[in-house]
């Protein structure tokens, strides 16, 4: 019991120091993208009253079979995203493949969830 003032002191100092150091880290990490990231967002989504989604498409204009499936998936995803009903007109005019940027935990979590549902 004699050590109780010490205990409160350790708790107060400890929590303050932990928060202080991590707040300093937050400030520093927040500066990182401003210093190092000059690239703008690669995906630009434009919506008009008809909900026509337009992005750049790669050179080939003809849709392969897999592209058609992909467009169906994209259309469904956009519809789900906008929470629109089935009557709403959505047309995916073009798309562009970008490199995989999702961290491993993200993709693992998604694939585990999907495989659980299958």
């Amino acid at each position: 019991m004699n050590n109780l003032p010490l205990a409160y002191n350790v708790m107060f100092v400890g929590m303050v120091v932990v928060f202080l150091v991590l707040i300093l880290l937050i400030a520093a990490i927040s500066l990182l993208p401003r210093i190092f990231n000059k690239n703008k967002s690669e995906i630009k989504v434009k919506d008009d009253p008809d909900y026509i989604i337009s992005t750049e498409r790669s050179v080939n204009n003809e849709y392969s079979a897999s592209d058609t499936e992909l467009i169906a998936v994209l259309t469904a995803a956009i519809q789900a995203c906008y929470r629109s009903d089935i009557q709403t007109r959505i047309r995916v005019k073009s798309f562009r493949r970008i490199p995989e940027t999702s961290p491993i935990w993200n993709t693992t979590g998604r694939s585990e969830y999907i495989s659980e549902k299958l």
Binding site: L4, A7, M11, V17, V18, I29, L32
Partner: protein, 376 residues
């Protein structure tokens, strides 16, 4: 001839562990077998629990002298890595090589959740003082709340090495039990509406940011808290191996062979410190209870701070990710994901919870540095 035969057999029986073993040793062997069962049948963190529990078994075999304190046996030699503080930083090297700090860099505010979850360490410190443990012992017990095995061993070794066995076993056992301990606390402290919050997609993090991050963190944290440098330094070195992309062989070794070998050595020698004569007393029971409180308070601290962020962000932060701030990578993040999906099956919190989860590793290393620098 026959009499001599039976006499020899009788002597052998009298000398056997069945007769000479104490009830305390039999109890410890029973506990070890139960832990082995949990590791194999229930899959509770088997990578740690299996070597630890077998170490407990070996240490309590009557007259086998296989505990970490019995000089001259293999386990005693392996224990030197614990005693000299070699294994915990090496484990951190491997953890760093396996960790993606991307979610943390993408959403730096999650560091605050990693800080709030350290509440368990300091509240347990007070609890241990109230139970008449010395300040050094209380510091070692409190660090169980960091939910970080290597950190717990590192701090205990510096502050109260005589408590290494019970503290290490409590820390690793509770880490294995995170999926059982955390969900009731998380549900108790949050509403269904809060648990259903879908968080925004994290921004992509550039390679350059990921390379700068470990160097920067090492310098900043070590300048402020030199006592945290062995853990943070090795954690960030491992991460730099991974992110630099120029030492793939070393990175793979750190995250596979090295960490596996050290885990065997560490688990076995820590388990073998739990000898019946030193382990079975009321102080160990106190440590087990306080360890559970430490985990619970840490989880509550993270979730409550998550609620605060939910309010201040206008409902954009799901408070469940706060519980991942207790470290225990990646189990705590998986628990956030699981509880979140129970409320909203279409919700993916895993990536968002990984931010506070790895922040918890940094936070507990900092808290360890604070305890060592104040108490030692």
């Amino acid at each position: 001839m026959i009499n001599a035969f039976f006499s020899t057999i009788a002597d052998l029986v009298k000398a056997s562990g069945f007769v000479r073993g104490t009830w305390q040793e039999f109890l410890m062997i029973g506990i070890a077998c139960f832990l082995i069962y949990l590791a194999i049948a229930k899959n509770y963190e088997p990578l740690l629990l299996l070597p630890i529990s077998f170490g407990v078994l070996l240490a309590n075999l009557p007259f086998a002298y296989l505990s970490s304190y019995d000089e001259g046996n293999l386990i005693n030699y392996l224990y030197q890595g614990v005693k000299l503080g070699i294994y915990p930083p090496l484990i951190f090297l491997g953890i760093g090589a396996m960790t993606d700090f991307g979610p943390l860099i993408a959403y730096p505010k999650s560091l605050l959740l990693g800080a709030a979850a350290q509440l368990g360490i300091f509240t347990t410190f007070i609890g241990a003082i109230l139970l008449n443990y010395t300040p050094l012992e209380a510091g070692a017990i409190g660090i169980i709340g960091g939910a970080d095995g290597p950190t717990a061993i590192f701090v205990t070794n510096k502050l109260a090495p005589h408590l290494l066995g019970p503290i290490a076993i409590a820390a690793y056992s509770y880490m294995a039990l995170v999926p059982i301990i955390q969900p009731p606390i998380m549900k108790l402290l949050t509403t269904k509406k809060e648990r259903e919050v879908v968080m925004e997609q994290l921004r992509p993090v550039s390679k350059r940011e990921k390379i700068i991050f470990p160097i920067f963190v090492t310098i900043l944290v070590s300048f402020i808290l030199p006592d945290a440098a062995p853990l943070i330094g090795m954690l960030m070195l491992g991460n730099l191996f991974r992110e630099s992309g120029v030492v793939e062989r070393i990175s793979k070794t750190a995250q596979n062979e090295l960490i596996n070998i050290i885990t065997i050595f560490l688990g076995l020698s820590v388990g073998a410190t739990a000898k019946a004569t030193t382990f079975l007393d009321e102080r160990t029971l106190g440590i087990i209870v306080l360890g559970l409180l430490a985990f619970s308070f840490g989880t509550a601290g993270g979730v409550l701070f998550g609620k605060l962020m939910y309010i201040t962000s206008g409902g954009k932060v799901n408070p469940l990710i706060g519980s991942a701030g207790v470290s225990a990578v990646p189990m705590a993040a998986r628990v956030s994901q699981k509880v979140g999906q129970q409320a909203n099956p279409g919700n993916f919190l895993l990536m968002h919870a990984m931010g506070p989860n790895v922040a918890g590793v940094i936070g507990s290393a900092i808290a360890a540095g604070v305890l060592i620098s104040i108490l030692k």
